[in-house]
Symmetry: C2
Subunit: 128 residues, 2 copies
DNA sequence: GCGGAACTACGAACGTTTTCGTTGACAATA
DNA sequence: TATTGTCAACGAAAACGTTCGTAGTTCCGC
């Protein structure tokens, strides 16, 4: 039984993944340009990172074209769930309630967002 | 205007902080023993870590006694909020709603937990 | 006072992540 | 065919986090 688990992406790797989620399958050049605004580096740095990410299994690589096309292997939601579960264990002793309370009480959530969350709650409680 | 921000604690540093939050101000030895079960290392490793954490400002240090007494500089909730806000930016594009949805759907919260969360929502919306 | 226990301080080693320069392959073009 | 531009591959270096051994200090009991 293989223990095939994707490792948790580092901060920089996550920035690349976000580009791939937003743009879909992309070449190194495309990612590099998309990253230029927020994370200015040299082309080969992005290349190296993405090669390593391919080795780790974070992205898949299509080599049919001369410029290889990379794609995130896990959907955005899967990785989000992974990171969130991780933080839940590491910093919240597994208590989802206190995590949600924290996120709500830090004034990040707007009124509309609160409404949406309430809707999700309704669905979870009543729906099933 | 000084830009005094506490750096985000690493995984290992967070383990130490968790001990300090649980025990309150503690010596290196006390932390080391508390950590022995989950994170077995040598005494001086914990010492070094805590010295570095003091430099970073993650903990404060009282040197009155021979065995220095360390204390977390930020309350548990503050650090949790910091880490959460960080993850929100890095992985959720700032959307608290999708973060809460993720945590609710993946770690299916119990009925009581849902009730508690709903109470928080009520307080946030109606209370003020 | 002496020896051992409990500390802090320090520095070296190691692994991982991030960065970049260089090289060689390939393609398009003049 | 020679030149130029784009690309992957690779290696090395820098930065960071983690680990541990060693040295030196202080304290206590004998």
């Amino acid at each position: 039984m293989p223990k095939r688990e994707t490792p948790r992406p580092t901060d920089t790797e996550l920035q690349i993944l976000r580009v791939l989620w937003r743009r879909g399958p992309s070449t190194v050049r495309e990612v590099h340009e998309a990253l230029a605004a927020t994370h200015p580096t040299v082309y080969t740095t992005v290349l190296k990172l993405m090669q390593i990410m391919a080795e780790k299994g974070l992205v898949s690589r299509n080599e049919e074209q001369r410029a290889h096309v990379y794609e995130a292997r896990l959907a955005r939601e899967e990785t989000q769930a992974q990171l969130l579960g991780d933080l839940l264990d590491r910093a919240f002793e597994g208590s989802a309630t206190s995590l949600v309370m924290q996120v709500l009480s830090s004034k990040r959530a707007s009124a509309e967002e609160l409404e949406q969350i309430r809707a999700v709650l309704d669905e979870l409680e009543g729906g099933e």
